[in-house]
Symmetry: C2
Subunit: 341 residues, 2 copies
């Protein structure tokens, strides 16, 4: 069905049909000039936003619309968790070009709604508009954290331990794989991409998850990170953000950086440096955080969390200690679409 048959308000009605708020803090959702939220006393409000543009942040040749919707929501949730908070509401703005039908946009929205269901988040507003070129997705997420308990980037202190959840570099390798298959498929109509044995990489790229479980585990074990970020631009870049904001240096150990087996195999196949991929590949959405040295025993017991290094004085700079004991200065080679064009 052509979107023009429904018009803006008709499309919004259709997309948001049957939405029921899951959170007490959502007083009024879609359908007025504003959403109305009521957070209980003792809570601070967190706000984050992301803009995704077709052919800059995603390529619809190999990204299914439902996955795209899911990921677009989850990356915002990830920013809220990275402050030690819990996501509660999102607004969704879409710019839609003529080649998309109502069914296309429903598929995208299905992905957004699924992510919201999984993470207990309410869709409370948005904007829907024509776009002359391509798909535009702008999501803003609002979350809560206990008063004064938001964890920023600026609290890391000398001797703190540096920890990271999950493994790194897989989403980047998934992107390389998808790009390779896209090139291989060019001009063919019945091309079957070969992802055998690399399903994890594809999933990390197309359907990342936010680490709610880690934030829950930290709370349960009484660990309050001194600083925290999610790894969206690459470990190297994020470590430097934390050190810059905190006025510190850092050391991370090459042999401590968690890397999945499939990531290693793929790097080998593509003749790429594995550690470079893990340091600079973005979109892992793992949590990078620092804890006081006194939390060593508690943090090493957490499942899916690895201590990869320590915070040091600023004059020591930011470096990786290689397997042979050498030091390589970290550089932020993270993904920079503004420089890269």
């Amino acid at each position: 069905m052509e979107i023009s048959e429904l018009g803006e308000f008709g499309l919004i009605d259709r997309l948001t049909e049957g939405l029921k708020p899951a959170n007490d803090s959502t007083l009024k959702a879609v359908g007025d000039d504003c959403a109305v939220l009521r957070y209980p006393a003792g809570k601070d409000t967190l706000v984050t936003t992301d803009l995704l543009l077709e052919n800059v942040h995603f390529d619809l040749t190999y990204v299914p619309l439902k996955h795209l919707g899911y990921k677009a929501a989850v990356v915002n949730f990830s920013d809220i968790y990275a402050m030690n908070g819990r996501p509660k509401q999102i607004t969704v703005s879409l710019g839609i070009s003529r080649r998309f039908t109502v069914e296309h946009i429903e598929e995208l929205y299905d992905g957004i709604r699924l992510a919201c269901e999984v993470y207990g988040v309410d869709i409370v507003g948005g904007d829907t508009s024509a776009s002359h070129q391509g798909l535009v997705i702008s999501i803003t997420c609002i979350g809560e954290v206990a008063e004064g308990k938001a964890v920023g980037r600026d609290g890391a202190r000398d001797t703190d331990l540096i920890c990271v959840s999950g493994d790194l570099g897989a989403a980047y390798m998934g992107l390389q794989l998808l790009e390779r298959e896209k090139v291989a498929s060019a001009g063919q109509t019945d091309f079957e991409p070969d992802f055998a044995g690399k399903e994890y990489l594809v999933e990390r790229q197309l359907k990342p998850e936010a680490r709610k479980d880690i934030v829950d585990a930290l709370e349960k074990n009484g660990i309050v990170p001194t600083s925290m970020m999610d790894v969206s631009d690459g470990l190297s870049s994020e470590l430097m953000h934390i050190c810059k904001a905190s006025g510190t240096g850092c050391r991370v150990y090459e042999d401590r950086i968690p890397i999945d087996y499939q990531t290693a195999v793929m790097a080998e196949e593509l003749n790429m440096n594995l550690v470079t991929a893990a340091l600079n590949g973005g979109e892992d959405y793992e949590l990078l955080f620092t804890v006081p040295l006194s939390d060593h025993d508690k943090v090493t017991k957490l499942e899916g969390v690895k201590v990869i290094g320590y915070v040091c004085k600023p004059e020591a700079g930011c470096a990786m200690i290689t397997r042979d004991g050498g030091e390589i200065t970290l550089r932020a080679q993270g993904w920079n679409p503004l420089a890269e064009k």
Copy 2:
């Protein structure tokens, strides 16, 4: 200067340099995964968002970037006021194509910053990205309202008075004028547009204001509207939104609709129906609200507010009473960029 020289983080640093929060509720602004806000007990939080796309919502041939930034912020403030609230924070996401320089984006941001200064709003976050086509602006505004005092669209009741602030149709006429001068200037290098005697129309289109003063006046005079909206898609469309949400009908009087002299002259010049322009022309950002009949004396004393009709039972439908006493059924012919393409 090319934006690629600065990169994303450099550009953000430059744009947000020297920003100082004006509101106590802004604990942490730009520079982390999220902004952190703390609203006092007894306040509800309002959230609204708008997506603006080049050549759909604005034409840079005649819209100066600074005005565009100002307007992009103000239209969001307007949605907060339309809920009887006060805007406090915004996030600003920009998609920037290659033809824009750092100076261009600074000009746009200057307009956003000016609007924030005028209305006492803090810029607390955002996202900046490359765009392959044109400029994309997505702004989310967060505001506050006393607990339970948000005014939605659904509270209008039979016999309520319908009120509107300012005058209507001028922004639409300003757009017609700008389009006319654009056509006239095509291919000429030293074209001087002729806006003499029509400055008000151009200003209403390029630099609208949100009606903070009206919300303040309502509060000062102890008037709590039963429903309220801002007029962004046209009076006719907004009246029908209120009546649909409230389950009522309405009558408005043609001779009561406030229209500026310049709007009337321009309609004459363009041979357009003046009342149609006032009913269906969008982007006025005036406040449309209903009050109980018992507030008649209070509301008629408000400067810049006019009673234009009344709310009636749903079976009577929505209509305008013409100068000769006839009735014309209202139709929402408001601006619909999704149907219009």
